[in-house]
């Protein structure tokens, strides 16, 4: 149904955009092991994106590639957190930590969806995002507990990314309609807060005292990075309309 398709598109776009960003790290990571780890996460996410967008496309007879390469910016439904630039490794880790903590709650809840396709995708993704969270949390600890420089950097990174958290947990008309099919975003917040609080406590970091940015991704409003990201991602495909690859 169209609402389910719209919901799947939100999730798929989040995964696609974050995968796209992580893909930019490959060959540039601080150590080979991280080229592998970030690459793994990017691969998991593009896997989720493909499954979700394929499912989303069934409602309008569009393929995963139609959705990824031929929609314009206002048609994307990704949240602002995943659009935030890679920055340095600490920025990427803070973004991943917050987003994976959300995804762990999301897919856990979604695994019991009354929609069997969404349930299956979530069930498969659940273990993967738990690994992503673990990887990011480990790095939060290492960076916070490493050198003075790394502690300073990760503190700033966390403050820079935290304004984009609230958007993840906003209910709206669509999620209100999908009771049973999808968890209400607001219902995921408590679990997220617990996870984040426990890692930050272990890392001896404070929850950033920053104001939330009024994210508008679910309605197609995006931040400055998004246009550049899409232009890069879509350039080649659009250069050759109708071609197959």
């Amino acid at each position: 149904t169209p609402p389910v398709a719209e919901y799947a598109m939100r999730l798929g776009d989040d995964a696609l955009i974050l995968s796209q960003q992580l893909g930019g790290w490959i060959s540039r990571a601080p150590e080979l092991e991280e080229d592998l780890a970030l690459g793994n996460i990017a691969l998991d996410l593009i896997g989720h994106a493909r499954a979700l967008l394929r499912y989303a496309g069934t409602a309008s007879d569009r393929s995963e590639d139609d959705l990824a390469f031929w929609r314009d910016e206002p048609e994307f439904r990704s949240c602002w957190l995943v659009e935030q630039p890679n920055g340095h490794f600490g920025d990427t880790i803070a973004r991943q930590f917050l987003f994976s903590a959300y995804q762990v709650e999301l897919y856990q809840a979604l695994a019991t969806s009354t929609d069997p396709s969404l349930g299956a995708i979530a069930g498969k993704a659940e273990r993967e995002v738990a690994y992503h969270l673990d990887h990011a949390a480990q790095w939060m600890l290492r960076l916070a507990g490493g050198t003075e420089e790394s502690r300073g950097r990760i503190t700033v990174s966390l403050g820079d990314l935290y304004p984009y958290v609230d958007e993840l947990f906003e209910d709206d008309e669509l999620t209100d309609r999908l009771a049973g099919v999808a968890p209400r975003p607001s219902s995921l917040r408590a679990g997220f807060d617990r996870t984040v609080a426990s890692v930050l406590a272990e890392a001896d970091l404070e929850t950033p005292a920053v104001k939330p940015a009024r994210g508008d991704g679910r309605r197609g409003g995006h931040t400055a990075s998004m246009g550049y990201l899409l232009a890069e991602m879509q350039w080649l495909a659009r250069r050759h309309p109708g071609a197959t690859w």
Binding site: L32, E64, G145, T147, S150, M233
Partner: protein, 322 residues
Amino acid sequence: MVTTTAELAEDEDGRARFDALIAADQRIEPRDWMPDKYRRTLVRQISQHAHSEIIGMQPEANWITRAPSLKRKAILMAKVQDEAGHGLYLYAAAQTLGISREEMTAQLIEGRARYSSIFNYHTPTWADMGAIGWLVDGAAICNQVPLCRASYGPYGRAMVRICKEESFHQRQGFEILYELSHGTPEQKQMAQDAVDRWYWPSLMMFGPSDDASPNSAQSMAWNIKRFSNDELRQRFVGMCVPQFEALGLECPDKDLRYDEETGTWITGEIDWDEFAAVLDGRGPANAARLRHRREAHDDGAWVREAAAEYARKQHDSERVAV
């Protein structure tokens, strides 16, 4: 350095065992005695090979964010990630010979180590992803399959794993080109141009003719190298010919012909000046490749320091806890 009589005797025992193992085409393992020159040759070869995997990530990573379909993007990410993995295996194999990863990394970044010259070319189009997979990985496989039987155990075993993945990569490269050459006229042209760019450099990957390749004989004697450069190049060309036909692309070597008498392929003249120039650092992308690697390394320094410091603190606090 003072060498005692006992040590000398031990060396002689070791050498005898080493020679016997080589003669029986069996494996040398890290704890076995080996001649210094064997060790140095292997360190050089394995670390070069590892560096090639790492530098070789760049030309393909260049297209990850721009891949034209999600499936291709996923395949390409997995491939470049495999290369990082190959680099890790190979660094680990070299480490068993007593060199550290830090030292090898420093050699690479400071321009003191070689890596395969093939990666000093740019990848201006998506079709280069196909050409690299098909031709470069194809040539690499011809070079590497015999290395699975290399006399040094850790190297041979790493190569087994690597070769399995490389042949997968080669098939994917062929597929990319196949889609392009059977696609729109623009796509087909893109494929032909990429093949024109990569064909000759791929032939150069096997190195100069045997008579111009001074180290080959010793490496053959030590069962590190199994076939001559020309034999391997032959094998590669023979493999490519029918695939060119399947792709519907033209082979850039207009002089290529099959010699019925000797059963070999005679290639047109290879531009060894070009090879020498790129090897000497004057290729299109030598400077760019080293800059990219150095910048990634430098940008990540604070992260590696943090991880090391964190590990040290954890270790200390565990000791206190005990």
